[in-house]
């Protein structure tokens, strides 16, 4: 596709359940980011993939959060045993070529009841 695609766009889950969020980056982009945005707030860095390098996981808030990326393609962010404080919009972005220019998806709105 032409842009970054995220699915699902909305996810409602019960506390304690696991959720998996998907990101399809722009083809050829070597860098991929996940950010969390709470209501009315800025973007909180979660994890960064760059090519074949080891991912920078320094922003993951707890060991309930993990992410994988298949080569330079799809990425999934998994949250285990969800808590109410995990409710937020999860944004994925990819970058390639132009320094600092991130292209964002529209995000997944996660609501934990």
């Amino acid at each position: 596709g032409a842009g970054v695609s995220q699915s699902p766009s909305n996810k409602v889950t019960e506390k304690g359940k696991d959720v998996e969020l998907r990101c399809d980056p722009i083809s050829g982009h070597t860098a991929l980011y996940w950010y969390r945005q709470r209501l009315g707030q800025g973007l909180e860095f979660l994890i960064y993939f760059q090519g074949n390098s080891a991912p920078d996981k320094s922003g993951l808030p707890s060991d309930r959060f993990s992410a994988e990326r298949t080569g330079e393609s799809v990425s999934t962010l998994t949250i285990q045993r969800t808590q109410q404080e995990d409710s937020a919009v999860y944004l994925c972005a990819s970058s390639g070529g132009i320094w600092g220019k991130l292209f964002f998806g529209s995000g997944t709105q996660l609501s934990v009841l």
């Binding site: 970054v4 800025g42 909180e44 944004l91 600092g100």
Partner: protein, 111 residues
């Protein structure tokens, strides 16, 4: 610890007025970017500044990178209701290539 501090957090002004918002850090950045985000969408890049002291203009928007590459400002001339949105600064700290964001300035322009 928030590496990029943005001020003010909120700004509501009348159409036609001028405004400046700020992005500050105690760290040196290789580059800083400004993004604008509208409700329900991801942020969209407005500009990237990479050289200390650099000034870039985008129509009514003027962006400046501090001489020491620790801060940046965004000045809007004759604000319009279409400028309403969340303005985010972002950048990569020297020695660390990941992009981090500030908490943003929420701007509301009243018609």
């Amino acid at each position: 610890t928030q590496l990029l501090e943005q001020s003010p957090q909120f700004l509501s002004i009348q159409e036609g007025e001028n405004l400046t918002v700020y992005c500050n850090s105690s760290s040196v950045f290789s580059s800083l970017q400004w993004y604008r985000q509208e409700p329900g969408e991801g942020p969209v890049l407005l500009v990237t500044v990479v050289t200390g002291g650099e000034v870039k203009k985008l129509k009514r928007l003027t962006f400046q990178f501090g001489d020491a590459r620790k801060d940046s400002s965004l000045h809007i001339t004759a604000a319009q209701p279409g400028d309403t949105g969340l303005y985010l600064c972002a950048g990569d700290k020297v020695g660390d290539d990941k992009i981090i964001f500030g908490k943003g300035t929420r701007l509301h322009i009243l018609p």
